[in-house]
Symmetry: none
Subunit: 213 residues, 4 copies
Amino acid sequence: MTHSSRPSITRLRKTPSQARAEETVESIIEAAAQVLEAEGLEGFNTNAIARRAGVSIGSLYQYFPGKDALTVALIQRETRRFYDDAAAALTQRSGKAALEYLIGASVRQQLQRPMLAKLLDVQESSPALRGEVEKVEFDALVVAIVRRVAPRFEHPEVAAADLLAIVQGLTDAAGERGERDLESLEHRVRAAAFGYLSRVARRGKHSARAGGM
Amino acid sequence: MTHSSRPSITRLRKTPSQARAEETVESIIEAAAQVLEAEGLEGFNTNAIARRAGVSIGSLYQYFPGKDALTVALIQRETRRFYDDAAAALTQRSGKAALEYLIGASVRQQLQRPMLAKLLDVQESSPALRGEVEKVEFDALVVAIVRRVAPRFEHPEVAAADLLAIVQGLTDAAGERGERDLESLEHRVRAAAFGYLSRVARRGKHSARAGGM
Amino acid sequence: MTHSSRPSITRLRKTPSQARAEETVESIIEAAAQVLEAEGLEGFNTNAIARRAGVSIGSLYQYFPGKDALTVALIQRETRRFYDDAAAALTQRSGKAALEYLIGASVRQQLQRPMLAKLLDVQESSPALRGEVEKVEFDALVVAIVRRVAPRFEHPEVAAADLLAIVQGLTDAAGERGERDLESLEHRVRAAAFGYLSRVARRGKHSARAGGM
Amino acid sequence: MTHSSRPSITRLRKTPSQARAEETVESIIEAAAQVLEAEGLEGFNTNAIARRAGVSIGSLYQYFPGKDALTVALIQRETRRFYDDAAAALTQRSGKAALEYLIGASVRQQLQRPMLAKLLDVQESSPALRGEVEKVEFDALVVAIVRRVAPRFEHPEVAAADLLAIVQGLTDAAGERGERDLESLEHRVRAAAFGYLSRVARRGKHSARAGGM
DNA sequence: TATGAATGAGGCTTCATTCAT
DNA sequence: CATGAATGAAGCCTCATTCAT
């Protein structure tokens, strides 16, 4: 289940063997996040990132073979943070509670880091980055949750993808508008998610579902 | 709530007073659309657009004060096309039918023009473009529909924004995955939209709604 | 017998359609030659070349897709100049006179433009440039001369390559030493060239020659 | 004619006083040779050399004050190897045999180590390296050989330089073409060398020679 | 007005070299 | 002494924009 070791844009150029190096790598990724947040995609360039990280541009390129690699590393970090939070969903008693937990994690994440969505979009439009980001684990999590809330869905991956899109669409837009009321937002996201699940089954062949819910 | 008439990046440099000029403007915008579709954001640059439009880069700058203006013009055109299609929703008998119509228009639009979403994202991240795009009319349409489907909502603008986010989130993700089955997609979007509306009311002060549905 | 139209590093990016453009291209190549002569390979960079040409770096890249293309263009120009001079060798009455003419051209060329040799070496060591330069015509010229001086050689291409190597080796080294006495140099080069031709035949299968000279 | 003892780029930073240090120096030079052979001039950089030598970049700079010094050291080593082989020429009975031996050594060297030629060219074009390489000994060898083959030459240094140029020009070109037939190549080089010597005398003041051969 | 040549700020990246550990 | 992380000058190239013709 390990990944193939094909040469990847993503890989670090050198594995940091000293503590200092690891800190540098971390500080660069963090700086990238901050630059993105503060300056937007317009200001997301390697010089600005190095400057904010307090390292030279040379150091940045010691660890990342290129800008894309850094972008991917940032996406990975954010995705992993989200995943690490969201994975606790599976410890919930019921499927419903699991999905609610996932939604809560999503909302928290989005309102803290509204930048991830934009990054992901850019990533998708850059041919070089396609397929570099590992979504597998994450998708699997959502599918697992779907299976618990709605065990008889024929295509849980479709429902999982839809749920993700609903949750992210709503939270992104809310973040965009500067909405800060977590409770209200979470309530509305739940409405959409559970509403989707309870209704998507009502039709025949096109439905994501095979049986009752 | 009308816009001030401050000098805007968006405005065309000259009002095309002759038919030929208007054609040129149109051809440039169309070329921009084609370049975006064919080359992605990577290839979306003024020289490429001028080349594809069959005009000189100089002419492009005769009609648009800058790249941002052209970008905005393209967004406006696409938004208007969508609006012109979606506006027919209001001619439907029932509110339900109106919302269904809107969803249908959204799905059609998205699967035909998957580029709009990306453009809108860039636009949001570019400070220069913020607020240049007229969404007012469009938002008003969705609010009007919401009022018809769920007349007693306290904050129909919130529900309208949410519905838009749900619909676009789902269709964008579907487009991204290359999904082509309109019927299935539409069914699932309806599930999410109507599910949202029917459930969002169930709570007190945080809800977007004041009364029953 | 035309060359395939595969995308080549060599091609100009745009065919200059205005007189000014053509001048610019010419001035850039000439500047490249001057920079190489004055600063050596160390100083042979695009910024220096643009500066000396009196154009912006942007203009350089309007016409040359990259540094390699410019390098190749320079090599082509120098090769062509040499060729245009050397081609008159074929108008000489005898084969001997033809070879002498070729040697004279070589010596003149080398002492005027000692840079070509260096460039050719760079070209050979840069994988990107391999095969971009057309030597065909030139090689054909030398082979034709060899056929006239020594009609019975079995492998005139080998002899041609050897003669070229001898002539260039001697003139390069002389240029390197700063030798300026054309007459003496030419005499010695003739000695080597004709000495080679008259002696190379003396052995069996390994010789470049089949019969008497 | 002796060299001044000005501080030289070339000198090692520290005289390796211990066996281990000497080994390190040797391994770095060997690594430089391998990198040059394997990656060409493009890949000939200090970090790559240190990596291949299995030492840190810091150590490399402990032993060499800079890249140029390392380059020169490599050239010296190769030159010395050649010299050690070629010096046996002087043990030959006749001058003819001596020159033949020299040619044989040249051909062997070139076909085994085609990289030296390229390095020498770079060295010549880099002002920093000019004059750093000791050729004296080597030149003296060739002059000595010339004196034995053609004792009455007025300017044996010129003839020596020419012979070197002929031999290297031919072998370099052959190496470039990938020629592997030593015997044939050697035959042709002899033809050029002896042809040169026998013919260069035939003129008056410009000749490299004063009397008969 | 149309053209397209020209501009140059600014982004990405490399690599020789230094220096703290 | 060895290490390798860090540095930054310098090179390559792009693309939004201007301006002479």
